[in-house]
Subunit: 350 residues, 2 copies
């Protein structure tokens, strides 16, 4: 599996890029060192899913072994770092990948150094800026990957679309959290843009576009990637409620405390009786929700059949993805790798 | 003057770009309409200084009349929109360009629609995302301007540097606000990166790079642009304390309420006696500072000679910039336009 994620190659490309930026930033002021240290820490984590999908689509479309492609693909991790940093500010999340979130880190730095002014506001400001820097750098890393201009021009169109879609998806996600009337359909629309396209379909399209793949390849990648993206997000939703904190990097039940209006929650509310629905609505999004409260909500999600319905959806979408992959006009090796990535992205881990 | 700012051409390029994005965004969901409406409102304002500097450097270096250059230059307004939106979130500012700031707009929308959840958090989240979108779109607008790949490659190097510098400058600015020991020197370093390079030198370099100007032109533009950028920011600092709200678009004394550690403040603290310094330190950054308090701080800034020292610095930097412009190897017309822009950027308006 790990070879499919091309983790080592992606890590090296990211380190090389950030190391190239380091002297420029520290040349402005050595007070920027905490920005770099925080970024180093954040970039050390992550499953490298997006670069892997980009990489295998490129290979599947006949692209050869080229380090420039790995660099272009790895730039997706900087885009993702930006999204995570800003997401955590928006959700007021305390942790990310098992560590304090970026705004909490800078808040702690402010306190430890006994600076005057509001530590929390300083932390948020620093996180907004580091997220901006990651967003700018993702584009810079992509453009400076060394791929030929005509390849980059084709890839850029996908990159542009992907960024617009993920930001739109994030806004719709936030809007979904301010609705009492969320349904499975509205939750699925968020999943489509915030996750399915952003995490899987567009990285695949990016690799295909860079390789110069014909439209039929792009279409086949969508047929594999979109349902897989939905299945991946639904698995993530289940892990957000039932997952092992050691694996998710978040305290147990954090998604419940944040009040995320996931498909899992919508499936549960559809099936809940009045008492169960009232309890869900009362405790979902309560930042002070304790372990007993988390357990109570988990019980409702299981007893209503919401969890089983979600697992059935995951199986259905994964099967659809798998069927599309079988007939996809890709190299044998890429089909094998994408099949393994599918299992990694959707496997039950609870 | 207004012709020098090429406002009409920049407006048209911005409207054309956003109109091209509009159907894509609304195609995802019509619930994204408030994002577009807010962006339209924000982009309608602004002095268009950065595009004008880019445009005249291009012309000064012999670039001809090309709409593609205006588009590339206008993309700087989207970068600036991103910086303003995020800046207002970080500073918790209520107003921008005489209107409610973006996060306050979305906060109000949340309240008016009676949505559940925290309105302020929703507003901040929406503003972070709209700022991200503007940052992504600035790069997209630049890359899709239609200029030749070799021109874009030269310009991209400047664009990349500029984005890193402005984000670094913003962080240093924030850090400066958490220091009791700020000096004229540390305040000037913030001005250099956050304003002088970002607002003037790099837009000039961008135009020159796109035109393919030789190094001596770039150097001459720095000699004109860097001191002008400092003078511009110092003028902005004076306006932030003494300016007419109708012109600044911010309530009188807002910079004092936000506690900005400007060069003007540092010059005042250097000259203040113990009682004046104590009063400055007590009231600077007090969000509840009333009109009497603003007047008291203004009096200290005048009576210490801080204001006069700042005006003298503006004159000195503007003179340095003007002298550099006289000998600059640029076309006659561009030298004339850049001279007018210098006056517009630093003129006393209080």
């Amino acid at each position: 599996m790990s070879t499919r994620l091309i983790r080592k190659e992606v890590d090296e490309a990211l380190v090389a890029f950030v190391d190239r930026q380091r002297p420029a930033l520290l040349g402005i002021s050595d007070e920027l060192a905490p920005m770099l240290a925080t970024l180093d820490g954040l970039l050390a984590g992550g499953k490298r899913l997006r670069p892997a999908f980009c990489y295998w689509a490129w290979h599947g479309a006949g692209g050869g072994a080229r380090p420039e492609l790995v660099t272009a693909a790895a730039s997706l991790e900087l885009l993702q770092a930006s999204a995570l940093i800003h997401d955590d500010v928006m959700d007021a999340s305390d942790t990310r990948r098992g560590q304090p979130s970026v705004h909490r880190r800078f808040e702690a730095m402010h306190r430890e150094q006994g600076r005057p002014g509001a530590a929390a506001q300083f932390g948020e400001g620093a996180a907004i800026l580091l997220g901006d820097l990651c967003l700018a750098w993702s584009g810079e890393m992509f453009e400076s990957s060394g791929l030929e201009p005509d390849r980059l021009a084709r890839g850029r169109a996908v990159y542009d679309l992907m960024r617009t879609e993920v930001m739109a998806g994030q806004y719709l996600d936030m809007l979904e959290g301010t609705r009492d009337t969320g349904t499975v359909d509205t939750a699925l629309r968020v999943v489509e843009y915030k996750s399915a396209k952003y995490t899987i379909e567009r990285p695949l399209h990016l690799g295909a576009a860079l390789a110069g793949a014909p439209l039929e390849v792009t279409g086949a990648l969508s047929a594999y990637g979109l349902p897989l993206g939905v299945a991946f997000q639904l698995r993530d939703d289940v892990l957000g409620v039932f997952g092992d904190p050691a694996e998710t990097g978040k305290p147990a039940g954090d998604d419940l405390r944040e009040g995320k209006r996931t498909v899992l929650v919508a499936l549960t509310l559809e099936r809940a009786d009045a008492a169960q629905a009232a309890m869900m609505r009362t405790y979902l999004g309560d930042p002070g929700l304790d372990e007993a409260g988390v357990t109570a909500l988990r019980t409702i999600i299981e007893e209503t059949g919401g969890l089983a319905a979600c697992e059935a959806m995951i199986d259905r979408y994964a099967a659809e993805s798998g069927a599309a992959l079988e007939g996809a006009p890709l190299t044998e090796e890429a089909r094998g790798a994408l099949g393994e990535l599918m299992i990694a992205a959707t496997a039950r881990r609870v």
